[in-house]
Structure formats: structure tokens, C-alpha cells
């Protein structure tokens, strides 16, 4: 009654080949989409739609901003805020989410606040943050933290609540006490939810950033855009926008990679 695992190397190789083929096709389509987008952009700027700068003038502005170091100063300032806010927000959200999911008392105490603040966009707290926290780094990081926290806390909580009761029971009958159930069932079972929360939280952190940098910032991509807006410098606005897009995408990819590493066990679809 022993079964043997499939050991057909030919099959495995063909499978890998097909997979690679598929990925190449997808990549080609992605490239095509990018080229088409650029072409459309060029066309729009050529017919001079609302003074839209073309890709070339934006690229030359980008080179200029890179050469004089301005872009890196802004990017570093923004990334620092996003990462700091995201890290603090997530680090708080995971334990709070676990507590809320695990203990009824914690849920009862915290849920009203979480639900209440969820209905307020973090940006709406900026005026208040300025009054209480001044105009330095603190209020900026604070609103980003809040944005990341609110997203992550909900999904962590959902993850804990959604753990299959049968799995908890299975652990219990194998001798697991509360601590072991928590560490060995609740934590791994809610990991996919937490990672989804982190990815959405990162998105929320980036989208809060620009507005947060409207608070008397000296550097930052959001601040740069605001300055550029005053001087009607559309090229710089584009450079900043594209930089935010690319950076956000790269960070999301890192989380996606982490997600796929940590949750290979998941039954997808």
C-alpha cells in the first residue's frame, strides 16, 4: 500500500518550460502595454493637451534632478517617513489584532476605537496633528502610522477570527494548551491575512505620504510636487509621481515575495 512520488524528470522539465514560456509571454505583454502607454503620452503632449509635458522633457528633468541630487534627497525623506510609519503601524497592529481576535475583552475595549477611526480618513487628522504635534517629522509619521495601523489591525483581527475551529480542536486533542494553540495554529493560520494587511497598509502609507508632506516639509516627494505646482513645473511633478509609483511598486513586490515564501502552503483558488 505504499505510494511513490512522481519521479518523471521529463514531466517536471516540461512543466518548468511551459511555466517559463508563460511568464515570457506575460512579460512581453507588460512591455507592450508600457510602450503603448508611452506612445499615447507622447501623442497627447504632441497635440499639446493642457500643456502636458512629453516623456522626453520629463526624462530630461529626471536626469537633471538626479544629477543635482535633489531627487535622492526627496526620495530618501519620503521613504524614511513611509517606512517608519508603516513599520510602527504594522508592529502595533499585529499584536493589537491578535489580542482583539483572541480575547473577547480586548475586542470589546478596542473595537469601538478601531471602527471609529476607520471611518475618519487619516488625512482629516492632519490639522489636529499639527496643533498637537507641531510641524516636524512627528505629525507626518503619525498620520502614516495611523493609516497603516488601521488597515493592518483589521486584517490581523479577521485572520484570527477566521481560523478554522477544527484546526484549533485538532491541536487541542493532540495536547496543545492555549499558548501552543496560539503559537502553532493561530499565528501560522492568520499569516496570509496579516500579509494582505501589510500590503494594503503599505499602499495606505504611500497614499497618506503626499498629503502629510504638505505639512511644512523641507524635503520629500510630496513637498517637491507642491513646490513645483507653485511654479507650474509640470515636469517635476511627473518625475515625483513616477518615482512614487515605482518605489511603491518595488516595496509591494518585496511584500509579495515574502507573502509567497511564507504562504506556499495555501490552497490557492
Amino acid at each position: 500500500m505504499t505510494e511513490t512520488a512522481i519521479q518523471d524528470d521529463g514531466l517536471a522539465r516540461r512543466h518548468a518550460l511551459r511555466e517559463r514560456e508563460m511568464r515570457r509571454k506575460l512579460l512581453a505583454l507588460n512591455l507592450l502595454a508600457a510602450v503603448l502607454g508611452l506612445a499615447l503620452w507622447s501623442l497627447l503632449s504632441f497635440i499639446d493637451l493642457a500643456g502636458l509635458p512629453g516623456p522626453l522633457s520629463v526624462a530630461s528633468r529626471a536626469i537633471q534632478l538626479i544629477a543635482n541630487g535633489q531627487l535622492f534627497v526627496d526620495l530618501a525623506a519620503s521613504i524614511q517617513r513611509v517606512l517608519l510609519g508603516f513599520a510602527i503601524g504594522t508592529a502595533l497592529a499585529i499584536p493589537v489584532g491578535f489580542l482583539m481576535g483572541w480575547y473577547t475583552w480586548a475586542r470589546g475595549l478596542m473595537e469601538p476605537y478601531v471602527q471609529f477611526f476607520r471611518t475618519i480618513p487619516p488625512l482629516a487628522l492632519i490639522p489636529l496633528a499639527i496643533v498637537f504635534l507641531g510641524i516636524g517629522e512627528v505629525p507626518k509619521v503619525f498620520v502614516i502610522t495611523l493609516a497603516a495601523f488601521l488597515v493592518s489591525v483589521i486584517s490581523t483581527y479577521q485572520g484570527v477570527v477566521n481560523v478554522d475551529r477544527v484546526l484549533i480542536n485538532a491541536a487541542r486533542v493532540l495536547g496543545a494548551g492555549d499558548a501552543a494553540v496560539f503559537r502553532r495554529v493561530i499565528v501560522p493560520a492568520s499569516t496570509p491575512f496579516i500579509l494582505v494587511g501589510m500590503r494594503t497598509g503599505l499602499g495606505a502609507a504611500w497614499s497618506t505620504l503626499v498629503a502629510a508632506e504638505l505639512i511644512a516639509a523641507q524635503q520629500g516627494l510630496g513637498h517637491r510636487m507642491q513646490q513645483a505646482q507653485i511654479y507650474y513645473d509640470l515636469e517635476t511633478i511627473f518625475v515625483a509621481l513616477i518615482t512614487i509609483g515605482i518605489t511603491g511598486l518595488l516595496m509591494d513586490r518585496v511584500l509579495l515575495w515574502l507573502d509567497q515564501r511564507l504562504t506556499v502552503w495555501q490552497e490557492r483558488r
Partner: protein, 254 residues
């Protein structure tokens, strides 16, 4: 009389469904002796799983008492192994890690753990899949993994909820013989739920036939066939008679 291994004493379990009380198990008495194999059959929804969950300590009775070794059950414990109807494998652990889970909780050293896991995997024929994740297993393989996981902690009582339900006929017969061979060595007490009348008779000292609404014992059929149960016994007239009796008790309750 010696104390029964498992004793259901006027046990009831009620649920509230849409504001109405629903008796999944009603005022049920059943004693299971140490080393006895009792199979539980009955129509779907008659309270078999509920009864087993009460013995496992996962469901509190709303009336009466469930005792194991004379002591009222107050929660789950590794001396009562459970095989769930829904496999309940930990999807993030490999087959071998699933099987070793209970041993790890118990603090069994890694080397001995590996030895026990290997033996249990061999018993259910999953050695080649030790490092596979549950999502890559077929239903029958998952079930066998769940069986190995329960065996690994060497419980004195085995509570098995349709453990062979997802297996093909051949593997099923194999697993039945395997179960009896293991039982012949360790004489564990086994409460075994099944929908298969042949299986119920083949394994058991006694077949308990339940009826639904409210969940109760309809009839108990004593299986006076000797162990070891061989293929000859399975094909004997006496076996046929017993299975016919159980069949009637299950399918012609009214």
C-alpha cells in the same frame, strides 16, 4: 463490574437553532469497556459526531455526564486521540510535521520523534510523501495522514469520525485490517463512526445504531464474531446475517 473506559450517563446535547431548542443527543446511556471496539452508525444528523465530540471534550453535554476512566470529561487531552471527519490537517505543516505535532507538544526529543513519525507514516503508506504539503494530497491520503497523526501520540482511546470515508474500497479494507492488527497489539478502546454497514460489523464488538430527532440509540447489535477478523469471516453467513440486521436497523427505523 469494572469501570467502563468511556461512559455516557444520561447524556444530552442540545443546540439552539433559530430560537428553537434542538436535541442533537437526547438522554443517552452507553458504556464502552476498556479495549472494546464500538462502531456508531445512523442516518446523517443523528448526533454521531456530537456524541464523539463530547467524549473528546470538545463539546460540553447540556445534560448528564461523560466519564472516561470514571472521571468526568473536562476538556480534550492527548490520551483521547481524535480523527476528525474533515481531516483537520495543519496546511502549513508537511505530512511528517503534521504527524509529529502531538509529539512535539509532548516534548518528545527530535530523534525519537522522527522514529515514531517514520513508523506511523509507514503504517498508513505515506512514507514517500513525508515532506509533501497537505494541499498536494488526495482526500484519501489526507485521511491517512490524519490517522497517522492520531496514532503517533499513542492514545489509550481512539475516537474516529468516519476515518475511512474518503478511501477507495481496496484501501479501505486495507486500513480496516491495519486498524484491527494494531488493535490486537495494543487493545486500545475505539469509538468508530461510519456510514458503511459492512465496516461497522467487521470492526466491532458492538454496533450502536442511532436514530435522529432526537439523537438516541435505536438498537445495539452484538457482533459475536471472533478476532482476528479474517476474510473468511467477512464472507461468512454469520457476518451476512449481522450486517443485514444492522442494515435494517439503520434504513428501516420507522
Amino acid at each position: 463490574m469494572t469501570t467502563p473506559k468511556i461512559q455516557f450517563a444520561r447524556v444530552s446535547c442540545a443546540f439552539v437553532l433559530q430560537g428553537q431548542e434542538f436535541r442533537a443527543v437526547n438522554d443517552l446511556d452507553l458504556d464502552i469497556a476498556d479495549g472494546e471496539i464500538v462502531t456508531l452508525v445512523g442516518p446523517s444528523g443523528c448526533g454521531k459526531s456530537t456524541l464523539m465530540n463530547m467524549a473528546a471534550g470538545l463539546q460540553e453535554p447540556t445534560g448528564g455526564t461523560v466519564r472516561v476512566d470514571g472521571k468526568p470529561v473536562s476538556g480534550p487531552g492527548p490520551e483521547r486521540g481524535v480523527i476528525f471527519q474533515q481531516y483537520a490537517l495543519f496546511p502549513w505543516l508537511t505530512v511528517a510535521q503534521n504527524v509529529g505535532f502531538g509529539l512535539e507538544i509532548k516534548g518528545v526529543p527530535a530523534q525519537e520523534r522522527a522514529r515514531i513519525v517514520a513508523r506511523c507514516l509507514d503504517l498508513v503508506g505515506l512514507t514517500a510523501f513525508a515532506d509533501a504539503l497537505p494541499k498536494t494530497l488526495s482526500g484519501g491520503m489526507k485521511q491517512r495522514c490524519a490517522i497517522a497523526r492520531a496514532y503517533a501520540v499513542d492514545p489509550a482511546v481512539l475516537l474516529m469520525d468516519e476515518p475511512f470515508g474518503a478511501l477507495d474500497a481496496l484501501t479501505r479494507v486495507n486500513m480496516q485490517e491495519q486498524l484491527l492488527a494494531t488493535w490486537a497489539r495494543d487493545k486500545r478502546t475505539i469509538l468508530f463512526i461510519t456510514h458503511d454497514v459492512d465496516e461497522a460489523v467487521f470492526l466491532a464488538h458492538r454496533v450502536v445504531v442511532m436514530a435522529a430527532r432526537p439523537g438516541r440509540i435505536h438498537e445495539i447489535v452484538d457482533v459475536d464474531l471472533p478476532y482476528p477478523r479474517t476474510e473468511d469471516i467477512r464472507l461468512s453467513q454469520r457476518f451476512q446475517d449481522l450486517r443485514n440486521r444492522v442494515w435494517h436497523a439503520v434504513y428501516h427505523q420507522h
